[in-house]
């Protein structure tokens, strides 16, 4: 990560978070306050497979962030992609997570819900499923909401994937602030309902929530074989 061939310069890296597959550092990149998301090599993996997985995911994450940006969603600006180190360097969003915003009553819950619904609408309309749409991955900066961590995102046309996003979001609301859940979700539906598959998504969402861990769905799937 050091200054290699003068292509880019990073100042001191400060480890912010260690996830299952990546490490998140805070730094300054060409003077810009930045985040480095570096995918970790796994000792247990064949080196060739390790490289393939980390490379594919780094590229996919950057691509999907760019696609989300093109469809009008605020995402951290990508500053540099270091394929050799499986790293994405991106803008540090100086704001507060929605989790904290709700926790500390910093914003009207329904308004926040509307903004999240707008993000989900644009995301799903562009055939992107985020995969981890929690209040921890939404950052409020001034009056703008940013979506982060596209590590589990994928291109999809599948209602199930969209409904899973909504389900994960709802579950994160329930665990953060059950008392504000209804207000936030009401706002969410106000904007998200413009999605052309809205009815189907909500139907599937009901299924997902009813079956808990997909129990019934998996059962009927396998018994139909």
């Amino acid at each position: 990560m050091e200054n290699r061939r003068g292509r880019y310069s990073l100042e001191e890296l400060k480890l912010l978070k260690r996830g299952a597959e990546s490490q998140i550092y805070e730094t300054y990149f060409l003077g810009i306050h930045a985040i480095v998301k570096k995918r970790i090599s796994k000792a247990y993996r064949d080196p060739k497979l390790d490289r393939k997985i980390n490379l594919e995911r780094t590229i996919m994450e950057a691509k999907l962030m760019y696609n989300a940006l093109k469809s009008g969603i605020n995402v951290p600006a990508i500053l540099y992609i270091d394929k050799d180190n499986f790293s994405i360097i991106m803008e540090f969003i100086e704001g507060i997570t929605v989790k904290e915003v709700l926790w500390k009553n910093l914003y009207d819950p329904k308004k926040i819900g509307e903004m999240i619904g707008e993000i989900a609408l644009r995301l799903h309309s562009s055939q992107i499923a985020h995969g981890d749409l929690t209040t921890n991955n939404l950052i409020l900066k001034g009056n703008q909401l940013f979506l982060i961590d596209f590590g589990l995102s994928k291109r999809s046309n599948d209602v199930e994937d969209f409904a899973t996003d909504v389900h994960v979001f709802l579950r994160s609301l329930e665990s953060v602030h059950p008392d504000k859940k209804d207000e936030v979700f009401e706002g969410f539906k106000l904007t998200y309902s413009k999605f052309k598959l809205y009815e189907k998504v909500m139907e599937t969402l009901k299924d997902i929530r009813m079956r808990g861990r997909y129990v019934e769905e998996r059962r009927s799937k396998s018994s139909n074989r």
Binding site: G19, A20, E21, K42, A43, Y44, R45, D46, K48, L49, K52, I53, G131, L152, R213, V215, R218, R219, S222, S223
Partner: protein, 331 residues
């Protein structure tokens, strides 16, 4: 207190006897059906189990140096598994319970694997990998039940490997000198072939990997594919395991089920353990594959908590999930 347990969910008919004081397991007798070619046909399994049942039962009582009169309850694995095979165990168990007036104890096969794991590894609060021919589950105990963090969305990892080696005529037998034939075959690999790698959050999917590997078997050297399929499958599992570790912050990983015997899985897990600073606890090989002792032991725990089932309600449950079972003895 002594419980006799009957296992017949898949290829193995086993009878075990457990007691609520050391050494806990008094007998563990089994007979495993191995088809001469192809996979397991449910009808053949049932015939095999029904044929060996009386003998296995007698040997288990003999090994435990006890009589059926001294047994306090009859535990039986009512699921998950193959219907015709399950029914043989259920019929034997019901008959014994009726004739000798014993309590009948319903046991979930997966819970059997997990409980014998706790008993034999001494794990306290582990993240559990339950890996067998029919199951690939990442679970942990929380508030009365085993909660599933991740699992296969289609076929089990063990089944996938078995089907592959069989289809390319390397098996049966699937295990030679304690090693799975996929590991033996992989020893001569020279290159990693590009195969699907599918992790969805904490869940895994193996069916696409199998299909792609069988197709690749026509184009590439078989050892390369054995190696690649194994690496992909285990790495998917380990990645899902890491996600669950990050979430649960457990300090132990307990591995149970037939795949726990895999040498290559162990060495991978040891590398993961170093990285996460966790302990790996693997069920001993005599209790890793399907066996009656684990059903007896889980049945013993259940009986001590008052879990029994009336004969007329003791139907087999081919798709009984571990997260449906209340675990009153573990709180």
């Amino acid at each position: 207190m002594k419980v006799l347990g009957i296992e017949s969910t898949a290829h193995t008919f086993g009878v075990g006897i457990a007691e609520d004081k050391p050494p806990f397991i008094l007998a563990n007798i089994r007979d495993t059906y191995i088809p001469k070619s192809g996979g397991m046909k449910p009808g053949d399994l049932a015939r095999h189990h029904a044929t060996v049942a009386p003998d296995i039962l007698a040997k288990a009582l003999e090994e435990a140096k006890t009589t059926i009169e001294d047994i306090d309850g009859i535990a039986v694995a009512l699921g998950p598994g193959m219907g015709p095979a399950l029914r043989v165990g259920a019929v034997v168990a019901r008959a014994l319970a009726l004739k000798y007036n014993k309590k009948l104890i319903p046991v979930n096969h997966g819970i059997g694997h997990i409980e014998i794991g706790y008993l034999t590894t001494g794990a306290k609060d582990p993240l559990i990998l339950y890996l067998s021919g029919g199951n690939t589950i990442i679970t942990t105990f929380y508030e009365g039940k085993f909660r599933i963090f991740g699992e296969t969305l289609d076929i089990a990892l063990g089944n996938m490997m078995d089907v592959f080696v069989r289809e390319v005529n390397l098996a049966p037998p699937y295990v030679v000198n304690g090693k799975h034939v996929i590991d033996i075959c992989a020893e001569n690999a020279r290159d990693l072939i590009d195969l699907p790698y599918v992790v969805k959050g904490q869940d895994m999917s193996f069916s696409g990997l199998l299909t792609a590997a069988l197709r690749a078997a026509k184009k590439y050297p078989i050892p390369d594919i054995c190696y690649s399929i194994r690496e992909n499958a285990f790495d998917m599992l380990l990645e899902a395991t890491e996600r669950a570790l990050a979430l649960t912050e457990k300090k132990e990983i307990m591995v149970v089920g037939g795949v726990a015997a895999s040498v290559s899985l162990r060495s991978k897990l040891n590398l993961l353990a170093k990285d996460w600073n966790v302990e790996i606890k693997i069920v001993p090989s005599q209790f890793s594959g399907d066996n009656g002792a684990m059903i007896a032991y889980a049945g013993l725990l259940a009986l001590k908590s008052g879990v029994t089932i009336p004969i007329e309600e003791s139907v087999v449950k081919p798709r009984w999930r571990i997260d449906e079972v209340d675990i009153p003895w573990r709180n």
